[in-house]
């Protein structure tokens, strides 16, 4: 063990660096990463730079069009209560992003742990976990969120906890086969013969093999979670006032669609931007991680 222990982290880091470099090298991955960086910067620093209050109402200037349309509502107009839509979008972005990243990260960690367990312990825990995943698959996130709200009342914290727990299945299902395959490898048997414990074995020797797909899924699921939060907040069942997210803004503006379309399109476009950023990054990472036998040339069938 003494000779292999120092070597392992070096090899792992170089593989990670290789994937990062190859993601950055592709147009898809680079666009996604740049878009994500911009989103994070705006979420962190944007509220400090925007001077207009996101919550200040001005009932003398409701539903004012954006200035570039000749209106007096500022960059993105004002909503039905005369609040500045641009300022609200910049502030609302924080909660949406925090929710997506938080829930995706928590469920990725849980999914990784349970996926490792399901692939390693194939006698009892594995099958039980996979059946549980099959059952959970029958209820999409939005339905779970609605059922939870019906029982416990609306609340963003409760929602995030339940969705984080509910989200483990996609990670576990994806990695369980690879985990089982890796566990049959000779070097695992060798490590076990040397008396390495199951936890250390899984973390040290199995996890690096399945981390790739987990990271790819994490990027897409962060976008999905942001949309789930937006959907529920749009229905008035997610984030509750005085807090607000991009979804809350959509919900507030839905009834005013005829009068102030910008109040819907602005938060909607920000959501589109975030989802594209995560999707592009995910696609770039997936391409960097996989070496498929996919044809690159024209098949010349037409």
């Amino acid at each position: 063990m003494s000779s292999s222990a120092p070597a392992a982290p070096v090899a792992r880091r170089s593989r990670a660096r290789q994937v990062a470099a190859s993601t950055w090298a592709s147009a898809t991955g680079r666009t996604g990463l740049v878009m994500l960086a911009i989103t994070l910067l705006v979420a962190v620093f944007g509220p400090l730079l925007v001077s207009t209050s996101p919550t200040a109402q001005n009932l003398m200037a409701t539903n004012q069009p954006p200035s570039w349309l000749g209106g007096s509502g500022g960059l993105m107009g004002t909503d039905a209560l005369g609040r500045d839509v641009f300022s609200r979008a910049v502030h609302g972005l924080r909660l949406s992003l925090l929710f997506g990243l938080g829930v995706a990260t928590a469920s990725a960690v849980l999914g990784l742990a349970l996926g490792l367990l399901a692939g390693y312990e194939q006698r009892f825990a594995g099958p039980v976990l996979l059946r549980l995943a099959d059952i959970q698959f029958a209820l999409p996130f939005v339905v779970v969120g609605l059922a939870l709200t019906a029982v416990m009342g609306p609340g963003i914290l409760k929602l995030s906890i339940v969705l984080a727990i509910w989200g483990w299945t996609v990670y576990a299902r994806t990695i369980v086969t690879s985990v089982a395959q890796v566990c049959r490898m000779d070097y695992i048997t060798a490590a076990r013969t040397h008396g390495m414990g199951a936890t250390r074995l899984l973390l040290r020797h199995v996890t690096p093999n399945v981390l790739g797909p987990v990271v790819v899924l994490w990027t897409t699921s962060a976008g999905v979670m942001i949309l789930v939060e937006s959907s529920l907040s749009l229905l008035g069942l997610g984030t509750q006032p005085p807090s607000f997210s991009l979804g809350t803004m959509l919900g507030d503006a839905t009834t005013q669609l005829r009068l102030a379309w910008w109040a819907v399109v602005a938060p909607g476009s920000v959501l589109l931007w975030i989802v594209l950023a995560f999707n592009l990054t995910g696609d770039g990472l997936r391409d960097a991680l996989s070496s498929s036998g996919r044809i690159e040339h024209d098949p010349e069938l037409v």
Partner: protein
């Protein structure tokens, strides 16, 4: 095959059982189930009556057994908000939803196949890349934003279609278009990927080197290789469709099952919520089982393995 079917049907029972259990545990964890099961403004005597009617004074295991029995017999009792039994309102609303679900389920996959195959046959050409670029962009558009944009353009600006309701066939156009566009943008990209993989595989290469016509290579050799994973994907897509329905129907004021569930959550009409959740779970699982069976029928390798 029979053993496989039995296992899948067992899963369906397990799903109903699991969903019921989750709801049961949640209602018991959240404090007083009588408060959840009563109308929102219930006084103490109403709560006592509810407790008596639902057997909440019984031991917990008996309550659990009774809940299971009523779920499996689809007897969800009376709605609080509407003066009818839960099942009658449920079936009529599901029927209304089917008017938008079925067209979306038929049009979506067909258009996705056409677009995906078109792009897969032109991976290096501008036309193929343009189609996929459009699909990628549409895939990023959240379905509710898509609905708002279509309403703004076709209902408010042009006035061609009604913005809300389900009174006429014209009112179905926007919801069906949203569900279809959402499905097409995601599925066509997957179709392209699967077709590209299939076109690189041995059997297809062999067929081409034998000089078979492009149409035969495409439809007899490449498509069957690409199809099984796509069918599995349709199952996932079906579950997305229900998620979208839950948001789409309320914003378009469409009187289907999604609208029913959201309104029942708002009114704390718990028996309806419970029934809707169970029906969703059963529908999604049944469709996935059917697709599983279809995949097995199409892929000889899987048939042999069983």
């Amino acid at each position: 095959m029979i053993g496989f079917l039995a296992r899948r049907l067992g899963l369906l029972l397990l799903v109903v059982f699991g969903v019921t259990t989750v709801l049961f545990v949640l209602t018991r964890l959240s404090g007083d189930p009588a408060a959840i099961m009563s109308p929102p403004d219930a006084g103490p005597e109403v709560l006592a009556a509810t407790r008596e009617r639902l057997g909440l004074n019984d031991p917990l295991w008996l309550q659990y057994v009774n809940t299971l029995v009523s779920t499996f017999t689809f007897d969800f009792g009376q709605s609080f908000a509407m003066d009818t039994s839960v099942s009658s309102v449920l079936w009529s609303r599901l029927g209304t939803s089917l008017y938008i679900i079925i067209p979306a389920l038929v049009i979506g996959p067909l258009v996705s196949m056409a677009i995906g195959v078109y792009a897969a046959l032109r991976p290096t050409r501008r036309s193929g890349r343009a189609v996929m670029g459009a699909a990628f962009l549409t895939d990023g558009v959240p379905y509710f934003l898509l609905a708002f944009i279509l309403i703004l353009v076709f209902a408010i600006q042009l006035g061609w279609l009604p913005a809300t309701g389900n009174a006429s066939y014209a009112a179905l156009v926007i919801p069906v278009a949203v569900l279809t566009l959402q499905a097409v943008s995601a599925t066509s990209r997957l179709v392209r990927g699967q077709m590209l993989d299939a076109l690189g595989q041995g059997p297809v290469q062999t067929a081409r080197s034998l000089g078979l016509s492009p149409a035969v290579v495409l439809f007899r050799h490449a498509l069957p290789l690409a199809l099984p994973p796509l069918l599995a994907w349709l199952g996932i897509q079906f579950s997305f469709l229900f998620s979208s329905l839950l948001v789409l129907e309320p914003i378009m004021n469409y009187g289907g099952i999604g609208n029913l569930l959201v309104r029942s959550v708002n009114q704390r009409d718990f028996p309806v919520v419970q029934a809707c959740v169970v029906v969703f779970a059963v529908l999604i699982t049944t469709v996935n089982i059917a697709l599983d069976v279809a995949v097995r029928g199409l892929d000889p390798r899987l048939r042999k393995a069983s």
